[in-house]
Amino acid sequence: MSTRANHPLQKDFNGHAVRELATRMKQMDGPLLPILHAVNEQFGYVDERALPVIADVLNLTRAEVQGVVSFYHDFRRTPAGRHVVKICRAEACQAMGAERLIGDMETALGVKLGETRADGQITFEPVYCLGNCALSPAALIDGQLHGRLNAAAALALAGK
């Protein structure tokens, strides 16, 4: 149970659930990404142990599945924190001071961009464009889009 201690939110891995899910979706055209999205959503991340199960159901090599998982930014390899703050650092937000905002938030939240805080409460990560470029800077906080963000507002929203 040591991994559980490292990641307080980690659910027990359930190989049967992954197999059932993959089997249900394998009839789709190009099923691998939808399956990985479903696993990512259901468990909060794509556990290493899910890869051989998915590979077996789809008749792929484990390396092929691994290659796809590692290619896309969205598929988490470890669980995220309780709150997820995705802050945009693309050009339109840069023009409105996103880099300074990120620095302020790193200090206030006590977590570096791209990391999860040690207590598992918050994951702070970059995103490249949320399509809210006329109301920059923007962030997606627990799935809610926010515009014209400043550090004070972002911290209040992230609920510390």
């Binding site: 598929f75 693309a90 050009e91 023009a95 409105m96 464009c129 006329a134």
Partner: protein, 506 residues
């Protein structure tokens, strides 16, 4: 008579509190016992006025914005409230536009097929169903429509190639992986008028003989994904999708697929790889996707705005659409004005408007109040323009002749605090982060480019390193497989050419 009040549920409006305002409006309606209903629409695209609330009156829709919760009660008491904007249609910023693709956005209920048809929806498809498929393709060719995703390839020619390639199964793929910073027109359209995109895809399917489509939407747009899913269900119920399109003999259905945070999947062949369930690595061309695309079958792959232009072209005829624009850039372009700008949002106008008109007249200068120093046009791979070149008209060829591109139509404005060497470095860093790794110039060159710019910033042999950077940019431009590596030099070299003082630390 029932009072109709509208407020967007577009993601941008939500990002500045539209839901809270909507709840306050509902509570006000119930407290006052009014005969009124609240309709959620898309956004009109006047983003600095969001949340924009509209009251329907006999003269038209009276607007208020930007509205916050504390304003709400006052809107019911005082038509001359300090947030009053008068008739929304008469706001000069909107009135001066030529909205064809965005004609309904912000006006109709995005999920009501009845509302869509009451505002001209499905006229294009109904006319297409009366025509021979090759005539539909010809209409799109004659309209002069070019791919709105960035490359500007004639859409009708793509359709004709697919139509002329025999196959049992053909596909229509909508590239809704709009990842360029400064662009949000695809998102606004999918959230504000999703049936228009569906109608465009069905027209494409009828024209080329494809019965199946996919919309590949980037995961960074959760609201658009949800709206498109609901619109698709409503379209099936309404007979716009299914085995008999509008009771004709044509069948067409589609699936929505969600991207997974890879910018490169906006490149068409990489998107097809991703749809097939692989790493989003670029495919060499030929074969063209029009001949061997998704699952090896002939595939129309078009951007959201290209497909969404088709219903207008079919409804009003090729000549109507072609009469807008200049040179070889025909029709209208939804321009997205963003970044450090006072009045940002969506400006749909015929090609030919100058950057100065867009940034100064529409934009009203910077949000910060400082002078405009640069504008990046066309996303992260587009050039940085100095104010001296702002008289350039918005047109594919003119922009290319000045080493720039209009791309997806996004314009990001920067004030005088911008450090152009840092922006150039970011372009290389972004390329390194998002490179698919297939070709060496992009995979390795981007990292070496960022390192070289770091040396210039640190003042290490700046002359030699600037020459090295130019040389490296040439290799990326000429040696990369796709536009990511091929165009990353554009922001870098434009920064170096137009803002050399930022690269000179001495």
């Amino acid at each position: 008579m029932t009072l109709v009040i509208t407020i967007p549920d577009d993601a941008a409006a939500l990002s500045v509190g539209a839901d809270e305002v909507a709840w306050a409006i509902l509570s006000e309606i119930s407290q006052r016992g009014l005969d009124a209903k609240l309709v959620r629409t898309g956004s009109r695209g006047l983003m600095w006025l969001e949340p924009l609330v509209e009251f329907a009156t006999s003269e038209g829709r009276m607007g208020f914005g930007p509205v916050n919760v504390a304003d709400v009660a006052g809107l019911f008491d005082d038509p001359a409230h300090e947030k009053s904007l008068g008739l929304v249609e008469d706001i000069p910023w909107l009135k001066s536009q030529q909205r064809l693709t965005f004609a309904r956005c912000g006006i109709t209920d995005p999920l009501s097929l009845a509302d869509y048809q009451a505002h001209g929806g499905l006229e294009g498809l109904r006319r297409a169903l009366q025509m021979a498929p090759p005539d539909i393709v010809q209409e799109v060719v004659d309209s002069g429509l070019r791919g709105r995703g960035g490359a500007g390839f004639p859409t009708g020619i793509k359709w004709r190639t697919v139509a002329d390639t025999p196959a049992d199964q053909k596909y229509i793929v909508c590239n809704a992986d709009e990842g360029d910073s400064g662009t949000f027109a695809d998102r606004m359209l999918m959230e504000g008028d999703p049936f228009l995109l569906l109608e465009g895809m069905v027209i494409a399917g009828v024209a080329v003989g494809a019965s199946k489509g996919f919309i590949y939407i980037r995961s960074e747009y959760p609201h658009a994904i949800s709206k498109m899913r609901r619109a698709m269900a409503a379209a099936r119920d309404g007979g716009l999708l299914g085995p008999k399109i509008l009771n004709s003999s044509f069948a067409f259905d589609l699936e929505i697929r969600v991207g997974a945070g890879a910018y490169i999947c906006g490149e068409e062949t990489s998107l097809l790889e991703s749809l097939e369930g692989r790493r989003g690595q670029v495919r060499p061309k030929p074969p063209l996707p029009a001949i061997a695309g998704l699952f090896g079958q002939p595939t129309v792959i078009n951007n959201v705005l290209s497909l969404a232009a088709a219903p207008t072209i079919l409804a009003k005829g090729a000549a109507f659409y072609r009469d807008y624009g200049m040179g070889r850039s025909r029709g209208t372009m939804p321009i997205q004005l963003a970044g450090n700008v006072r009045h940002g949002g969506l400006i749909e106008r015929a090609f030919g408007l100058s950057l100065r008109e867009i940034i100064e007249d529409y934009g009203g200068g910077t949000f910060s109040g400082g002078p405009v120093r640069a504008a990046q046009v066309g996303g992260p791979l587009g050039a940085y323009w100095p104010p001296e070149l702002f008289d350039t008209p918005f047109d594919y060829e003119t922009f290319a002749s000045k080493s720039g591109m209009i791309g997806h139509g996004g314009i990001v404005v920067f004030d005088d605090t911008v450090d152009m060497a840092r922006q150039a470095r970011f372009a290389m860093e972004f390329c390194a982060l998002e490179s698919c790794g297939k070709c060496t110039p992009c995979r390795i060159g981007s990292t070496r480019g960022a390192e070289t710019i770091d040396r210039i910033i640190r003042g290490e042999r700046p002359g030699e390193n600037r020459a090295l950077l130019r040389d490296l940019c040439e290799v990326l431009r000429d040696g990369s497989l796709c536009a990511l590596g091929g165009l990353t030099p554009m922001p870098v070299l434009s920064a170096l050419d137009h803002f050399p003082e930022d690269f000179d630390v001495s």
